[in-house]
Amino acid sequence: MCETDVFRPRGGKVRRSFVEKTIDGFSQVLMNDFYAERIAASRGLMQGLHPGSKVVTTLLLILVAVCLRSWPALVLLNLWILLLAYVSAVPLLTFLKRVWLVVPVFTGVVVLPTIFNVVLPGDPLLVLFHFSGGGHHFGPWMLPNVLAITKQGVHGAVIFVLRVGACVSLSVLLTLTTRWTYLMRGLSMIKIPTLFTMILEMTYRYIYVLLNSASEMFLARKSRTVGKTSTREKQRFVGSAMGVLWAKSIVLSDEVHAAMISRGYRGTPRTLANFKLRRLDWFWAVFTALAGIMLLGGDRLVS
């Protein structure tokens, strides 16, 4: 088979095999982690805060976001989060892409039907279609005379998207500006059981070991592949790779457990409470609480 038939089938554009795409996927995960680690290590407001204080205030702000009912208050909260991201050395464009390219798509799909009067009755904002001889009953459901986008539907959808956006922004900001280790310490501070945070820490740690193993398997496969492979063959390889990875993870978990026992672990994990709250952390917690109360108060006045 001619080489160009395999690698440049259409218009000279390179078509990548599923193996190459998977290897790229593995690299992308590592790249994302490097990127997040770099932001977490930079100097900024959020990076300077105690992880426990950050976790508590983030949860508080998420609670405020969930309780807000007016769009101006939610817009204000989202702008405040953007400002926080800015003063925490988070590149705004990347931050906006991560949140506002994803949130509208997923939440939009969820709330889209509710903007139409056929799902949620309301005052028409934009009439799309007139049904001839409307008012038909379908069981308990009545078809209206017109298909319209409603004011109440749009308002509800905007509130929903803004609310989800604020919650996702806060979570992204917390994870981007906090190293995983510190985040786990923060969770321990709010009385999340140590065993739970330890499992999370180890999961994070071993994802990369297993990712390396998987990457090597795919590279080995790539090095031995000439020409095209059938879909059935690809499925067989992926299935067997999953099996091998599973077996490797079992062996590894046994070894890790042995290594823990060897260093004195006796089934109950112990950790150092190695963070102390500083004045800035208290100031931040009080400031966030007051800001949350003011936002809620303003929200009640507007709505």
Binding site: R179, E255, A258, A259, S262, R263, R266
Partner: protein, 274 residues
């Protein structure tokens, strides 16, 4: 656990161990390892030497025979005692062959602190021990780095630090130089020699004949039948070509330097003769 005047640290008699599948891993092992000895367990892959190290660390329990550590029985029952377990794990450290298995914490500092924290040492003491160990092995630049961003040599050093931080009397090293570049291998060998000179008992496994004389005074040879078939000083064992061939440590093409009448081990300007 009280320190006995007896020199022996480990005493094994008729030790046997089977894998869960029923396959034999060790048979009829009789041996004694004394305080401050530098011993290598030499054998081909699958001969049972790593299994023996795990048994010596109380991670696996024997099927037959007896094993004593510091004069006391080493068994599942004795290790269930908090006092014995604390003392034993403080006195016996194990560096695994697979560093990835040993480095399970989020960063190097926490990795080194894991042992002291699990043994319930006070926070101030933990911090002092960890910081001292980091300074001793020159790991300052790595202390906040997650293990998956370390090179193979760095991982091995951190694994060693995570064990040495408890200042164990006995150090068990499973294939310590496997997969290391020459410079890191040399650094590790020097550390092992310094630890031995400071009075620690060093028990290593290897199938790399080149490093045996550098990390051991006495060699225990394991056959592919999972038995201890010979023991002696490095020079005796390493010059016994028939024995080494029989246990699959050298092949028919093995040869020594034609210009030398003795085995030569070269290492950065040092030459040792046996």
């Amino acid at each position: 656990m009280s320190v006995k005047s007896n020199k022996a640290i480990f005493e094994l008699a008729g030790v046997a161990f089977d894998y869960p599948s029923g396959e034999k891993a060790l048979q009829g092992i009789d041996l004694t390892i004394d305080r401050n000895e530098k011993v290598v367990l030499l054998g081909a892959n699958g001969s049972g030497k790593s299994t023996l190290l795990k048994i010596l660390n109380g991670l696996l329990f024997i099927k037959a025979g007896t094993i004593k550590a510091f004069g006391q029985d080493l068994s599942e029952k004795s290790l269930a005692s908090e006092e014995f377990s604390f003392d034993f794990h403080r006195r016996v450290g194990f560096v695994f062959q697979n560093s990835d298995a040993q480095l399970f914490n989020s960063n190097v500092w926490e990795e080194i602190a894991f042992g002291p924290v699990q043994l319930g040492l006070p926070e101030k003491e933990v911090r002092r021990l960890v910081d001292d160990m980091i300074a001793m092995l020159g790991l300052e630049h790595l202390q906040q780095r997650p293990p998956f961003r370390l090179s193979g040599g760095e991982k091995k050093l951190v694994a060693l630090a995570s064990v040495l931080v408890l200042d164990p009397e006995v150090l068990l090293l499973d294939e310590p130089t496997n997969g290391l570049d020459p410079r890191t291998q040399r650094k590790l060998i020097r550390i092992i020699q310094q630890l031995s000179a400071s009075g620690k008992t060093i028990i290593s496994t290897t199938h790399n004949l080149e490093i045996v004389s550098e990390i051991a005074d006495r060699v225990l040879v394991f056959s592919e039948n999972h038995q201890l078939v010979a023991e002696g000083l490095c020079a005796e064992i390493l010059s016994n070509i028939d024995l080494l061939a029989q246990v699959n440590l050298i092949d028919a093409e093995f040869h020594v330097h034609p210009h030398a009448t003795e085995t030569l081990v070269h290492a950065y300007g040092e030459t040792k003769r046996h």
